[in-house]
Symmetry: C2
Subunit: 407 residues, 2 copies
Amino acid sequence: MTGSTWSVPETEVVQSIRDSLDDRAAGATDPPDVLATVVGVEGNAYRRPGAKMLLSPDGEGVGAITAGCLEEDLASVAERIRETGTPEVVTYDLMDDDEDIWGLGVGCNGVIDVLLEPLTETYRPAVDAFAEGHDVAVATVLDGGDGPLARGDRAYYRPDDGTLRTPAGDPATDWPAGLTGAAGDLAGRGRGDTLVFDDGETTVEVFVDGIAAPTDLVVFGTGHDVGPVTELAARNDFRVTVVGFRGAVDPAERFPEADRTVTTSPGRLEEADGLRLDDRTHAVVMTHNFVDDRIVVETLLDAGVAYVGLMGPRERFEEMLEAFADEGRRFTEAELDPLYTPVGLDLGGGSPYQIAHSIVAEVLAVANDREPRHLKTREGPIHERVDLDAGDGDGGAAGGSPDAPTQ
Amino acid sequence: MTGSTWSVPETEVVQSIRDSLDDRAAGATDPPDVLATVVGVEGNAYRRPGAKMLLSPDGEGVGAITAGCLEEDLASVAERIRETGTPEVVTYDLMDDDEDIWGLGVGCNGVIDVLLEPLTETYRPAVDAFAEGHDVAVATVLDGGDGPLARGDRAYYRPDDGTLRTPAGDPATDWPAGLTGAAGDLAGRGRGDTLVFDDGETTVEVFVDGIAAPTDLVVFGTGHDVGPVTELAARNDFRVTVVGFRGAVDPAERFPEADRTVTTSPGRLEEADGLRLDDRTHAVVMTHNFVDDRIVVETLLDAGVAYVGLMGPRERFEEMLEAFADEGRRFTEAELDPLYTPVGLDLGGGSPYQIAHSIVAEVLAVANDREPRHLKTREGPIHERVDLDAGDGDGGAAGGSPDAPTQ
């Protein structure tokens, strides 16, 4: 497996799963791809629960579940699973055992539980939801206890639907009632967790893999400086739309990394096809044209977007506020809260890539609701714990592991 | 000009200048390339003074001096300069003039002074210093007044040498005595500024272009996760060395974006060929092997490097400190100051690229001596002012413009 297929964005891993399902649906008769998902992490692992890797019969893999420590062994487990057709949970114990590690040279730490399964159509609803821009949680039974569920059984929960469903789309009736609340929480945050349900008769262990829809980043502008921003944002799993205005260069041609491009005019953003401006939208405004920027900023703030990064010095925005005031438009402090100008984190770099790096770093921090300080100065675990009590309060969830740190 | 040549790292712009000089030295008889350098900025410009672009006769350019607003006009000025052979300073006034901008559709703001000159061997000492890893300041006369200096005359200052020299290497005697102090300051910080010297008889205007040697980033480890870190660091102008240990994959093969790769063992870092560990070195330690990491961290801290980012959760480093203590090695708080663990800024992302993005953002901030907060929360100008009083105190520098903001 090459480094380039290992470090693909998460969006591309999901796309590979979709492609694989499509190939089989179209009649491909190769042995199936095997999907490996991290379902549990303890200690010092590189990835979080929910990290996925798709292993093809030729030994290639797309995606990363460790920093390269287990990939060889996984390929041989995948081979076995292709033969048996049965999902397995494999536990890798890579904890440092004093100096033994020197001899082993394992090069990784932590205990990692990995679910390996032949990829089948039961996964289809997840990739469909992702493609349509909806959050989804994939629930997979790791241990069905004495009940009706077996390892590998699957159900889905979409917050926009509100019902736990089987892969065929029917309500999933055999599943623990307490699942939906935690599933909704995990889906929205794109986090995975193993939940244990005990109804007094049997114990069921379910891995819930929350797959959040990609965050929308809309970049306004078609200057050269838009290129590095678009490229870095796409690699960081944003769904990037580049918006160009009247007579500008064709954004589709210049920004191949963008998921979508739109050509419109500043006053017609709300009618523009495929341009969703709502409280999930993040936007960077860098047309370098004062009047265009002003109209776009007003439209975005009025639409209540989550983030507006405006390129330019503070004085330029102060001029913009004066121009708004001249038109009788005044913004409250709360209305200006999503506006970040000058755009970007204070990293001190001045090259095009350094500017783009600081912009995308800022959007990441805001989208993930983080204060962009050094991790070393942060108190507590790197990742917040999963809110196990979230949901409909029927008390089904009896436990679960906290989100593991990524490092 | 394509976006990809516009947004190249600064290191590649300097490399292009070198290649162009080499071609001519080898006998190429094409019309010369023209070097465009931003020598003054007022208002809302994208790049800082010192931003460079190399314009070739076929209309192509490497590097960026604006966000794409002037590049077409520059090509025609360059054509003129190829014919006359005479350097020119061209001033572009892109300030917003109320609504006129709408009609103009210029799409950029600010007043920008650009020096355009035929690229000649007088620039050779700058690219040589850069290639050898030395800071250098290139002093170019913009206006010689009534004195012996003429526009385009050039001198060099290397802090490691301490003497202002002509392109031929002789001491530069006709130049303002006050130049060396400011030149040393600007060279170390990689900043450019126009300085005005008035000795009572004549006024001389000199642009001093500080070109700092690239910052060294040494990455320890050869896992897949090293790939995105190496790639992003190289694009952000770090000179990247990847260090692999005994029997690991060949780093040269796996990390094509690295400037150098070294294979050694953890205990022999100080003897390793081409590995410079000093107070300018920044390092990321991500071997995923506890013992290797521990030896590397100790060596780096003892060498007094500027920054050590250690991958892994805080608890892992606490274990490491215990292991050090068991060997009788204790670190003071000051000794641990350069150590950042968990490595990276708190941006909340968990994918390989997101982790790498947060690591490189942290290294950028530390290398540039910045607190990584939102620029919108930062008081004062985005870039610190040039210390005009730096230097040998002979009072020659009579003025100069502050560093311009990049946005």
